[in-house]
Subunit: 200 residues, 4 copies
């Protein structure tokens, strides 16, 4: 490959990748609301919100999902020291899943119950793609700033599992409120694991 002497792994590369990704995240998150239209007839605020409720709820869930993915993306890229062509490719995989979320959100409010596994599956897929990206950067491409091995594995676990699990549990908790306890336990467990692995 000609990457080394042609500026392909320069810091400018990493910066441009982040800029591009941020723009895709921002557009995807803003487009979430674009297919929501007000109802034709409504009488008073309560009626409007009861008619738009499912759409606004789907909007809020997807906004949180893209927020969590952006958060993971920022965490991963804050540790990278440089980029290469394969990282570009894996990043496109991540963004390709993110850009489908407005469509999946529409599916969620129209398809109801049978759309749930597809939606959660797509969110889980975004976590897998992000995990793949981190695994390549940390263990194969050696693109990261010096990071202890335990921390690298913890990072892999967190970015891979968190989006799908949090999304699934949140949707579950809307039906069975004791699901929120599972979410709290999950976050506490991850936090505890993070502290432990970094001490070791």
């Amino acid at each position: 490959m000609s990457d080394k002497n042609s500026g392909d792994s320069s810091p400018g590369h990493l910066h441009r990748l982040v800029l591009f990704s941020d723009a895709v995240f921002a557009i995807a998150i803003t487009l979430l609301a674009i297919e929501i239209h007000p109802p034709h007839h409504w009488h008073g605020v309560a009626d409007l919100f009861s008619q738009m409720g499912p759409k606004l709820l789907a909007y809020a869930v997807s906004f949180a999902v893209i927020g969590i993915c952006w958060f993971s993306h920022r965490r991963v890229f804050a540790r990278l020291a440089r980029a290469d062509g394969r990282l570009d490719f894996l990043n496109f995989l991540v963004l390709g899943v993110i850009a489908l979320l407005p469509l999946a959100t529409e599916l969620l409010w129209e398809g109801g119950g049978q759309a749930l596994p597809i939606y959660v599956g797509l969110v889980a897929l975004s976590g897998l793609a992000m995990g793949l990206l981190w695994a390549y950067a940390a263990f194969v491409g050696k693109l990261v700033q010096p990071t202890p091995t335990g921390e690298a594995w913890f990072m892999l676990l967190r970015v891979t599992v968190l989006p799908g699990l949090l999304c699934g549990l949140t949707l579950f908790s809307l039906v069975r409120p004791w699901g929120w306890i599972l979410i709290a336990a999950l976050l506490a467990g991850l936090s505890w694991l993070g502290r432990k692995l970094k001490v070791a």
Copy 2:
């Protein structure tokens, strides 16, 4: 939390948060016009504008609203020295309200009078979210550059109250022209308060 030694509070974090927010503001403001379509039949410029009048007026009001919110956001972030995960979260709250404004604008030109309180309420909510962000940054998270206490409180008042109040008064003034006097008084009062608090 692992934020301190993992680059999560680096200046790069703050920069990326600003980039991301700017993209969301820019998309929301540009999407305001996307649901406006020309009428099917029109004869002459006067007829076109009389048919499109309410939509163009709603566009102009929402453009100004997002402009004011961007202005507040820029003011707040110009004073920040660093970012953390909670700031990310509060910033997502702000952006989540902003991204709903194209939908609220559509509601405004279709729903007429009964949509007004919802629209103004959403704008006021964006001010509240921004105030929450600033309160966290200035008083809890200690993320700001050195700022006198009086100035910090004034900033909180301004970013919290201004969007909703200005928007409500502007819409009111379209019906009762003496509302413009209230707006002038409000801006003069805020300016006077700003000077006074900074002297103290």
Copy 3:
């Protein structure tokens, strides 16, 4: 105003204004094509292009218009040394016109001849707004890097007049081909004037 001691006129302000504007330009230019849909029935490439011709032509003209406006915007901002709140406001005026161009493009391909003056008027308005911004920055707010007076006036003439004139003449030339000679003369004249004023 509290601008001076609160970071509002920092170089970061100017940078963020440019970032935000670039995002709006980029979204407006990309949304130009979003309302164009392929025809339901078509047979062969020639039929497709004859059916889509007016829309693609309107797309190309608007793409060029936004390109010229971006070019003016870049030229103006390359000479600025700092920004203030009034520049923010004037920049929002410019962007508010630019964000209407996708709508005006739709009007152009649907309304035909009677939409032409509205379209050209909107483009001319964008030039006026940009001229206002430059006039404020150069002559009132003193926000520019050292620029000879003659150059500042030439800049004002160029950014104010060029978008509307070029757009009007281009649309005119599609009907009367000798309009292209006027365009060439206009550009040559501006170039000559530019050289002359800078010598003086």
Copy 4:
């Protein structure tokens, strides 16, 4: 031209051009999915995917196409040392083709077989526009960082030919699986040529 002494060829110019282009790429790639809507009636995941199959396939192909074009754009701009007005113009040509890809994608899933040559032609056009930009930057405008002649010609070949050829071969391979061998041979050949030319 007044470019030299007016900041038009400053590094800020190049940076802003990259920012603007990245935003257009990001919007075009995210809008690919915006015209895809879930079917009104579906029973189970298998039915949903069989109904949405052609659209999701077109989405994936176009996502890859824009990815390859962004990759070429990044490679080209990583070698540039400065920008000028003609580079702006050629870059607008590239972006004008890219911004049509969401429309071409819609054509692809609606028009079926007869849309294929138009789609591939548009992708090839984006390669030609990028090649033109590089040829101007490297051989006419002298805007590039020091680059050996052989490398400059190889770059020209790669950015011009790759998008159209890869896209055509990929679509061909979906029907005739031995097309994948041609793709592998093409990539291997380009890689071999790249190594050879840089040795010379």
